[in-house]
């Protein structure tokens, strides 16, 4: 360690050392010349002989510098300088190489950021570790038996094969969800949601395409999210006959209504069904699926009921 710090200190005052070494060698040269002169040589002859005796000054300086330590750092700097010269000499090649690297790195970064959000990061909610996703496993259908059928058929992308010919789905019939919620010994809250892309969102006669997440009453309680304004959907909104209500994203509240407080109480049409905006989600909240960041993170239960055909994702 001692040696390391000594070398470090030296590295800092490198310039001064170079000059000192030059002065030291110069002194050696003069001393030698003087001695030869005393021995009887003429002045210039003595000088020449002294210089000959000294040898290759550049080489001596190189060797001495190596004794100072850090020849690796030195070599690295040399390499850097060499690289810089080469790069400047062939700008065309450099441009192509740099662009290739830039595009490659850029593409990788973009894909990684996307996958990172999708697969690695936790949801921005109070206790992401405590969340679980339930899937429906159904055994392979056997001929003639009505008990062995899959619970969902024919919806592209929501069925995938499990063990031993079983089929797995993230979709539950609403009835199954209700049963699970009522006879639930394990979970503190059970909620369902369904992603809807390209919903027709109409506000004050202006229509736009928006993505929405249809959720059940326990959604926000289960995720432990607090509203930025108004209130969030709760189980009261999930009762049969309750008024259809919606919670909109922070960004949407700014874009459509000029801020979260103004959005409360506004009525909007989602696929031509009127909803009342009762709350605004916090800015960092984007629903439960990072691949779809809904403009309306949550539209209340009534629509979920309407979408019962498709079931709810629990």
């Amino acid at each position: 360690m001692n040696t390391f710090f000594r070398k470090l200190a030296w590295f800092a005052q490198r310039r001064r050392k170079e000059q000192q070494l030059a002065a030291e060698l110069q002194f050696h040269l003069e001393e030698e010349a003087e001695e030869l002169q005393t021995a009887g040589l003429a002045q210039d002859e003595a000088r020449r002989a002294a210089r000959q005796e000294l040898g290759n000054v550049g080489l001596i300086q190189d060797d001495t510098r190596a004794a100072w330590g850090w020849p690796l750092a030195e070599q690295f700097l040399q390499d850097l300088r060499y690289a810089a010269r080469k790069i400047l000499r062939s700008p065309g090649f450099t441009l192509v190489a740099t662009l290739t690297l830039a595009l490659g790195i850029g593409a990788n970064t973009a894909i990684f950021s996307f996958l990172d959000a999708l697969l690695m990061r936790s949801l921005p909610v109070a206790d992401p570790e405590s969340l679980v996703v339930l899937n429906w496993h159904s055994r392979p259908p056997q001929e003639g038996s009505k008990e062995w059928v899959h619970v969902i058929h024919g919806v592209q992308g929501i069925l995938w094969p499990g063990d031993k010919g079983a089929m797995v789905s993230g979709m539950f019939p609403y009835g199954a969800f209700e049963t699970l919620r009522e006879e639930n010994p394990v979970f503190s809250t059970l909620f369902g949601y369904f992603n809807g892309r390209n919903r027709n969102l109409a506000v004050r006669g202006q229509a736009a395409s928006a993505s929405a997440e249809y959720v059940t009453g326990g959604y926000f309680r289960g995720l432990a999210v607090s509203p930025a304004a108004g209130r969030l959907i709760d189980s009261e909104d999930d009762r049969p006959g309750a008024a259809p209500v919606a919670v909109i994203s922070f960004a949407t509240s700014q874009n459509l209504f000029g801020g979260p407080p103004n959005a409360i109480g506004q009525s909007i049409l989602v696929d031509n069904i009127p909803f009342t905006v009762i709350g605004v989600a916090p800015p960092e909240f984007f629903g439960v699926d990072p691949a779809v960041a809904p403009d309306l993170p949550s539209v209340a239960h009534e629509s979920a009921r309407r979408r019962r055909r498709s079931g709810s994702y629990v």
Binding site: L25, E31, G55, N56, G69
Partner: protein, 118 residues
């Protein structure tokens, strides 16, 4: 350089360090004086090349065995003087005993007759 007399002995690896340390034992010296002292004391058998001397001096300094400072020479010029540090003195003792043992061993093997005569 080769036309000088008498013919010189090639330095063995590692010998220069101990010679420098030994030369510095009486007191501080600058590079040129160290070279001359080694040359003279060895009856011109050993000629220290400048190209080996200064790297060696700076290496010894980096190891902390000698310390250097700029002082006026006896002729009134500024010169870089080297002096032994306590660690250098220790190192000299170690290396000196190693070299004495080595040269005794060489003597014993190269001149067995003398040994028998004793």
């Amino acid at each position: 350089m080769s036309n000088r007399t008498p013919p010189r002995i090639e330095f063995l690896q590692g010998t220069l360090d101990v010679l420098i340390l030994r030369t510095l034992r009486p007191g501080p010296q600058h590079g040129h004086a160290i070279a001359k002292h080694i040359q003279r004391t060895s009856e011109d058998l050993l000629q220290v090349e400048t190209g080996s001397l200064y790297p060696a001096l700076h290496r010894l300094e980096a190891r902390g065995w000698v310390a250097a400072s700029w002082e006026l020479s006896d002729k009134g010029k500024r010169a870089r003087f080297y002096r032994l540090t306590p660690r250098g003195r220790q190192q000299l003792a170690t290396q000196q005993s190693q070299w004495e043992a080595f040269s005794r061993a060489m003597g014993l093997i190269l001149n067995p007759a003398e040994q028998e005569a004793k």
